[in-house]
Symmetry: C2
Subunit: 120 residues, 2 copies
């Protein structure tokens, strides 16, 4: 599939996809003889993974590192696993942060109801 369809399917903009490839966030996309990128299912999977990672705050440098490991072959599987596990842990931490914020907001809101006063 072409870049426009990859864009539609992933929600990434065309510019962003090109930027990701050029920055080595994903393996190089193969080209047709006209020089156009040809995305296959595997490429799309990568992009979708990148979407998830980006949405959840992984910096591009880490994604670069991940892709770099991938290019070095199966020997790096343990390192790649470790990276994903790390990220999962960060997500967990992040979720409790969100929980704490929700609690705080709930408290603030209940104070509005009690006092309807001139506080925050």
């Amino acid at each position: 599939m072409k870049i426009s369809e990859a864009s539609r399917r992933t929600g990434l903009s065309i510019s962003t996809i090109r930027y990701y490839e050029q920055s080595g966030l994903c393996p190089t996309i193969s080209r047709g003889r006209d020089g156009q990128r040809q995305f296959n299912a595997h490429d799309l999977d990568w992009l979708l993974l990148l979407c998830s990672l980006r949405e959840t705050g992984m910096p591009t440098a880490a994604m670069q590192e991940f892709a770099r490991l991938y290019r070095r072959g199966n020997a790096t599987v343990p390192e790649r696993k470790a990276m994903l596990i790390d990220h999962q842990a960060r997500l967990k931490e992040r979720q409790s942060q969100l929980d704490r914020c929700r609690d705080l907001l709930t408290k603030k809101l209940s104070r509005y109801d009690e006092i309807i006063g001139d506080q925050i």
Copy 2:
């Protein structure tokens, strides 16, 4: 208390606190006759709220709006409540996003274990 202590207690840098005040993210901090900011408990509460909101992705423009409403007095309490409730909803949405990412990672990881192969 002085700005250095406010910084210590909130985890915000001194520069950030000044930047927040100057951008109207919190009410104006009162000054001593030497021109130095004097933070009271109320101010600290604001800063801590800002911390939570920032950590959870509220854009500063929204915090500005919130502070603007606060300065307009109690008549704006319903709007302020609405803002906080909105943010809570966004946090919920965000948490399910994180959940989806965790699921995806779990899937990827289990594939590593199954196949130990040359996939993402």
